[in-house]
């Protein structure tokens, strides 16, 4: 089967074209070793030979500036596709053709797919495709990827092109053209494949080229050194001059007219990136997205405007409270989640309706086995796999999907690029670019989509530090945990639960900022990534592209999360039923005295030992039931909703009385909450992080979370219970930051010198 590579600028409609060509059989993975999406698919059409299509990442050039550029260039050089389909955005011809002039220097058949011709025609412009063909020496096929126009022609020509061969050709003329030709001869003599491409890179003093062909680069540079202008400038000038002179549709008069006219995008930007309105509007957009995803009182219609309901919708059925409750109207996200959960029979459902969802049916089938000797464990086991495992994953899905949908739309329509533009100033101070704000904010909803979203960040270090602090943004499950223990805070400790929750939200963000800065100064040192970014014009996202986008991400989540959560649920079940002393704990023992049965289990005993580790966090040896808090904390690593659930089971339903009896202090209880909020958020998040990080980094990140939970928990515990300890801890923290600051300063100076030395070596070649 022939293999074609799809190459082009970001925002040129490349993904749309890929989806249109490959349909539903696309496969999404990561490029080996890096977290850049790799998409492959097969073009199938009756009477035409099947072709594999590889979607290269969107790039502006073949310089080794971003991982995407290196991947694309290596793919073409090493994997030798039979043809490159170079998609070119006709409405942005100049910059798009720049990449084309570089691709043409490789010994690969190339065909140009001139996209968005409909926009050009609408504008009343004309592009002479024949002139481009003549000048570039390759075929040009006008298409409209979003309207499925011209695609069959494109593939027919591409297949014909792939059967031939093409020698690299440069558009550079005069001085730089002569240099390229001469350097190419040197590479040809050495028998290097794609000689012209390598020769150009040698003249540009390209870092990668220097590594692989050091001798040849030196030979080339010896011959062609000493020009007034560096070659990279000559070549960029030359390429752009060729494009404007020979093929561009714009003359300066039409461009001036275009500039003077306010485009639709400008009008929108006048408001969205307005000096005063820009920031508040962003937070308003976020509020609306979160309200539509998570709110159980949509837009506070009940709280603020008193839109009340006497009864919940569908009262008395398994769908009770589906659309509204006494609290208010549900958001679309909650309605979907309620529907799915009711169908599965997990969560709030009425047991006495005839068919209470799949879970009730399953339970009723296996229930009789309780009486069968030797099978009494089976119903509980089945309940664990389905209720805690499979349906827990499915139960998360609706809201994750809704959140994904909104963020995909904001991304595709061009707003996210503006968000990066607005916030870059603040984030640069922390060593990140403005883009990093988006995954962090998504973390308030759910860590899983937030971590997947870090793909859009520029550098590895930026991605790692963002993933690490995402859990500090209190997610939906943690909010649920906080609300479950609200009673304890109010009754046992006489505190205002809302104020405490708010404190944890704000504290989390604050710690995230401090952690990012510390990492930027020490372990994740790197220059602040540059911010040279195209701002695409606003446009309505195509429903088809959004749907495919959404489907990819959901599939990714289910694959990663499902296995991890189901296995974890199974392990917890196993270790709460095994006992070191009694072998297998009978189901009847749990019904008799849950606290004692759990205490005797392997998990309870391990919890007992581990609880001593948590003494500095306030819920270890100090309290009679330290093991119970420890077990809740450990199971909470699977998912934070489990924490109150476990405590509730251990306390036989009365958490307040249990906390009272355990004799835990306020600081200890705060330490208990804090640890859970700042540690591994859930196994699903580990699964998501696994997809985005390299293996070693993943382990370091897990250790980071365990450490951050422990340190923060201990800090909160001692501060609440022994305020005087601030006299020790505060100087300690400040000391760490001062040390890190000077470490960073010294390292930066060293790195600058190293870089200077390196550049001098390259210059001297």
């Amino acid at each position: 089967m022939k293999r074609f590579a799809l190459a082009g600028n970001p925002n040129s409609g490349k993904t749309t074209l890929f989806n249109a060509l490959t349909g539903s059989n696309a496969y999404v993975g990561n490029w080996p070793g890096v977290t850049v999406e790799q998409r492959k698919g097969v073009y199938k059409k009756k009477g035409v030979e099947e072709v594999e299509i590889v979607d290269l990442p969107g790039i502006y050039s073949l310089s080794p500036y971003t991982p995407e550029e290196v991947i694309s260039r290596n793919f073409i050089l090493d994997e030798k596709p039979d043809c490159i389909i170079n998609i070119v955005d006709a409405s942005n011809l100049e910059r798009n053709l720049y990449l084309t002039t570089q691709l043409l220097e490789m010994d690969v058949p190339v065909i140009i797919a001139l996209n968005m011709m409909d926009i050009i025609e609408k504008r009343g412009d004309k592009i002479d495709t024949e002139a481009i063909e003549r000048k570039l020496g390759v075929q040009v096929v006008p298409i409209s990827a979003s309207r499925d126009k011209g695609l069959e022609d494109l593939m027919q020509y591409a297949i014909a092109t792939a059967h031939g061969e093409r020698k690299g050709k440069t558009v550079l003329e005069n001085e730089s053209g002569e240099m390229v030709k001469g350097a190419t001869k040197i590479y040809e003599k050495a028998g290097v494949e794609n000689p012209m491409f390598h020769a150009v890179k040698a003249l540009e003093k390209d870092e990668i080229e220097l590594k692989i062909h050091e001798d040849l680069v030196k030979e080339v540079l010896n011959k062609y050194e000493d020009h007034k202008k560096p070659f990279d400038e000559l070549s960029a000038d030359g390429r752009y001059n060729f494009i404007t002179k020979e093929v561009s549709i714009y003359d300066s008069a039409s461009r001036r007219a275009q500039k003077a006219k306010l485009t639709g995008s400008d009008k929108i930007d006048k408001i969205l990136t307005h000096r005063w309105l820009g920031l508040p509007l962003f937070f308003l957009v976020l509020l609306v997205v979160f309200a539509l995803t998570f709110s159980e009182d949509l837009f506070f219609l009940n709280r603020w405007f008193g839109v009340e309901f006497e009864h919940a919708s569908f009262a008395g059925t398994m769908f009770e409270g589906l659309i509204w409750t006494e609290e208010g109207i549900n958001s679309p996200g909650v309605i979907l989640a309620n529907f799915v959960n009711a169908f599965n029979g997990v969560g709030d459902f009425t047991e006495d309706v005839a068919w209470g969802g799949i879970m009730v049916s399953i339970n009723s089938w296996v229930e009789p086995l309780k009486e069968v000797p030797g099978w009494d464990w089976f119903p509980g086991f089945v309940n664990t796999i389905f209720a805690d495992g499979v349906f827990a994953v499915i139960g998360f899905l609706p809201q994750i999907a809704v959140l994904f949908l909104f963020f995909s739309i904001l991304e595709d329509c061009g707003y996210m690029a503006r968000v990066a533009f607005i916030f870059d100033r603040i984030f640069r101070k922390m060593g990140l670019s403005g883009r990093a704000l988006i995954p962090m904010i998504m973390g308030f909803g759910c860590s899983v989509p937030a971590m997947i979203n870090t793909r859009t960040l520029n550098t590895d270090n930026e991605r790692i530090s963002t993933i690490r602090v995402i859990p500090f943004f209190t997610c939906g499950a943690k909010a649920e945990m906080l609300s479950a223990i609200a009673g304890v805070l109010a009754i046992n400790f006489g505190l205002n639960a809302v104020a405490v929750s708010y404190g944890f939200y704000v504290g989390g963000m604050f710690v995230a900022v401090l952690a990012v800065i510390l990492m930027h100064w020490t372990t994740l040192r790197e220059k602040v990534p540059p911010f040279i970014m195209e701002l695409p014009s606003y446009h309505f996202p195509s429903p088809k592209a959004t749907a495919i986008h959404l489907w990819d991400k959901i599939k990714h989540y289910v694959e990663k999360a499902a296995t991890i959560i189901v296995i974890a649920a199974l392990l917890i079940w196993l270790f709460t039923h095994l006992s070191f002393t009694q072998g297998w704990i009978k189901e009847a023992a749990f019904e008799e005295n849950a606290l004692e049965a759990y205490h005797n289990s392997v998990l309870g005993q391990v919890g007992y030992v581990v609880s001593y580790i948590f003494t500095p966090v306030g819920f270890g040896a100090q309290t009679a039931e330290g093991w119970a808090y420890t077990v809740a904390t450990l199971t909470g690593l699977v998912a934070k909703e489990v924490v109150p659930g476990t405590i509730s089971v251990l306390a036989s339903g009365d958490i307040e009385a249990f906390v009272q009896a355990s004799g835990i202090t306020l600081g200890g209880f705060f330490g208990f909450i804090t640890f859970s909020l700042f540690t591994i958020p859930c196994f699903a998040a580990i699964g998501a992080a696994k997809g985005e990080l390299k293996k070693g980094t993943l382990w370091k990140t897990i250790c980071f979370w365990l450490g951050s939970g422990y340190v923060m928990g201990a800090l909160v515990y001692v501060t609440v219970d022994y305020v005087w300890s601030l006299a020790i801890t505060l100087p300690l923290i400040i000391g760490v930051y001062v040390l890190a600051y000077f470490y960073n300063k010294k390292k930066t100076a060293q790195e600058r010198e190293l870089e200077k030395a390196k550049e001098e070596i390259i210059e001297s070649l």
């Binding site: 752009y240 533009f421 603040i426």
Partner: protein, 79 residues
């Protein structure tokens, strides 16, 4: 009159006379079309004063003032 891009005001246009800068960032700017002789128009400034958005070669590009500082342009009068 010559001045660097970071000193431009919204609505001003200039023609690039030189790109100073170093290494990868300079290379990136060249790739994005910021070459000598190119007309650049300062379209807007972010709410916090940085980065900036310029129009060149028929598209919009945003960059930081620290990067814009390395680009020198000849102001176009009466534009």
């Amino acid at each position: 009159m010559k001045k660097t891009l970071n000193n431009f005001k919204v609505g001003e246009t200039g023609i690039i006379t030189s790109i100073k800068g170093e290494g990868r960032i300079r290379r990136r700017m060249l790739d994005m079309g910021l070459t000598t002789g190119t007309e650049v128009y300062l379209r807007k400034v972010a709410p916090l004063g940085d980065p900036i958005e310029v129009t060149l070669r028929g598209y919009e590009l945003s960059l930081r003032k620290s990067e814009a500082e390395t680009i020198e342009l000849e102001m176009k009068e009466g534009d």
